[in-house]
């Protein structure tokens, strides 16, 4: 009897395991093997011995990474500073746009605005770099060929060689591409606010502005907090496409465009320096994971249902 029951259970469970197997295998290969692969950052890699048999070298790779002039400092600084600016603007601009979209009375107009604003989000960074190039190119770019002459300036600006313009260009491009996404998220929250609040406020004679500051913004607070903390958890990661494609990986601009992700790519693929690259990568993963856990603990404290785990 017992035996029969057990075999019955297996008959029930096996198909479920079979259905889950491909997904589990994929995560093992794509996510878990690389986690164990992080040990290469602590090894003095040589390809004769292979990855597993190469000798350990403790923290030497990290020491070397951080003693290489100020490369590590610059890429960490850039990654964090750009992220801070992106997070702040990524709250202010999408919320403004979402509130305005919600105010528009003509539904068709609102739909058209929404569709157009989300369009850049669907473009790859390669295409974005083409769009940027059409404006910024030294000889044929719209700014150099049309705007500057229009204002009587005949000296063209070599954007791809001069650092000072890039903090602005990168921030603008980032906002241009991600605005639609942020707007969609915040608009969903704005639409979710109960209309009764607004009706009550109107009876009390509150102006539109008062309604926004006293009802809309406070209702958005949980979304803002959750998204911000999630973004802080990712402050050590940068959008590789933005920093690699838009400045066209131009070495002259590294001071203001190099982030941890572009460094890892260049060290791995262009300089074949796996140890340095792995050290930077593991540095990013470990600090990044710590930040995710910390920020999640903070969300748990503030609002438990928004916590990730």
């Amino acid at each position: 009897m017992v035996k029969k029951k057990k075999s019955f259970r297996w008959k029930n469970a096996l198909p479920v395991y079979a259905l889950m197997l491909p997904g589990i295998l994929y995560f093992l290969i794509n996510n878990y093997l690389p986690m164990f692969g992080m040990i290469i950052a602590f090894k003095k890699l040589n390809f004769r011995d292979g990855i597993l048999k190469s000798p350990w070298c403790g923290l030497d790779n990290f020491k070397f990474l951080f003693s290489q002039g100020n490369t590590a400092l610059i890429m960490t600084r850039n990654t964090i500073l750009y992220n801070i600016v992106f997070i702040i603007l990524g709250i202010i601009i999408p919320i403004t746009v979402a509130i305005l979209l919600n105010e528009v009375q003509q539904k068709i107009a609102s739909r058209i605005y929404q569709t157009l604003i989300l369009l850049p989000f669907l473009m790859s960074w390669v295409v974005v770099s083409y769009l940027a190039y059409a404006f910024l190119s030294g000889e044929t770019g719209f700014i150099n060929a049309t705007i500057l002459p229009f204002f009587g300036i005949n000296q063209s600006i070599s954007f791809y060689q001069q650092q000072k313009y890039w903090p602005f260009i990168l921030v603008f491009t980032n906002q241009w591409k991600s605005l639609g996404f942020g707007t969609v998220i915040y608009l969903a929250s704005v639409i979710g606010i109960s209309p009764e609040f607004y009706e009550a406020a109107q009876i009390d004679g509150a102006s539109k502005w008062k309604q926004i500051t006293n009802i809309t913004l406070p209702c958005l607070k949980p979304t803002i907090i959750t998204l911000t903390i999630l973004n802080i958890g990712r402050i050590f990661y940068s959008d590789f496409g933005l920093f690699y494609q838009v400045p066209k990986n131009s070495g002259m601009l590294y001071n203001v465009t190099q982030t941890i992700d572009t460094y890892v790519y260049n060290a791995l693929m262009n300089q074949n320096n796996i140890s340095m690259s792995a050290a930077a990568c593991v540095f990013q993963s470990i600090v990044g994971a710590a930040l995710v856990v910390i920020s999640n603990q903070i969300i748990r404290k503030l609002s438990k249902e928004n916590a990730l785990f």
Binding site: V16, I29, N30, V104, M123, Y130, L131, L308
Partner: protein, 297 residues
């Protein structure tokens, strides 16, 4: 009430003005891209990219048509990768998500935690590269464009699992089990048809990310035969940059092989065309998918 209608009117004016400007900013670069692709190549070298071409010319598109063996091939690779990747992704994600709702089966909870961990920790670019390049040897195969990172993520699995739990009544599954249906049958005959909306949304997001992907190609493809359209655009970019940096000592190099500025813009237009055409129809689902995905990560 007078004050309210007035304040409302001012709000309408502000909203329309700001949103018009923001929408225009979103679209203007595309206009410049399309106008440039329709410009005469000589005009562009003389007076730069213009919003209104002086002389409309289809030269760039004729070039694409002539060189269709290369560009069409890249297009074919993109279509193949997008279709194959999306189908595999939807199947694998939904199968795993179906398993995760079987709470009474041993080990399912462990698998759930196993999936959650992938959302929190990440080995990073270098170990991932070594796994795919040295261990699985995907370099210069179609799998190099499909497998790394894009196939499935913990987020989508959880998203689909939550949908199964919230939208498919448990009694329905129980009833099917009592009727003697096995898990495979329930999955294929009940779960898949009942969860079309979420699978369409997940598939749409996946298809866009495959269509737009160039990073996998950057790491795993050097063979021109496997270039996707995005990779082709990226390679042209790199070549132009190389020429610009080495222009002094490249006097003898044949420049005629370089696609001109208008042609490059035209290829970019061809690359984004399917998305631009299909997008207005999908906008609603797309926006919905993004909102769902963002609620938890």
């Amino acid at each position: 009430m007078g004050i309210h209608t007035k304040s409302n009117k001012i709000m309408q004016i502000i909203a329309h003005t700001v949103l018009f400007i923001v929408s225009a900013l979103a679209v203007i670069p595309f206009w410049l891209l399309i106008a440039s692709s329709l410009s005469d190549a000589f005009d562009v070298t003389k007076s730069g990219y213009q919003f209104i071409p002086k002389n409309i010319s289809f030269e760039a598109y004729q070039y694409i048509f002539q060189e269709w063996t290369q560009i069409g091939r890249a297009y074919g690779v993109t279509v193949l990768v997008s279709v194959l990747g999306t189908v595999l992704s939807v199947i694998m994600v939904s199968m795993l998500a179906y398993g995760l709702i079987q709470k009474d089966i041993k080990g399912v909870n462990a698998v759930f935690i196993f999936v959650l961990i992938t959302m929190l920790f990440n080995g990073g670019v270098v170990p991932t590269y070594l796994v795919y390049n040295n261990l699985l040897k995907v370099k210069n195969t179609i799998w190099g464009l499909i497998l790394p990172n894009l196939l499935m993520s913990g987020f989508t699995v959880i998203l689909v699992k939550n949908y199964f739990q919230q939208s498919i009544p448990e009694e329905l599954i129980e009833a099917a089990k009592i009727d003697g249906c096995g898990h495979f049958r329930i999955y294929f005959k009940m779960i898949l048809p009942l969860s079309k909306p979420i699978l369409a949304t997940v598939g749409l997001l996946s298809a866009v990310s495959y269509w737009n992907d160039w990073t996998n190609g950057l790491y795993y493809v050097t063979d021109e035969k496997l270039y996707s359209i995005q990779l082709l655009l990226n390679k042209m970019n790199e070549n132009i940059l190389f020429m610009a940096n080495n222009s002094q000592n490249m006097m003898g190099v044949d420049m005629s092989n370089m696609p001109s500025a208008t042609i490059r813009m035209a290829i970019a237009v061809v690359a984004i065309l399917p998305i631009i055409i299909a997008y207005p129809f999908f906008h609603k689902y797309f926006a919905k998918g993004l909102t769902m995905g963002a609620v938890k990560g």
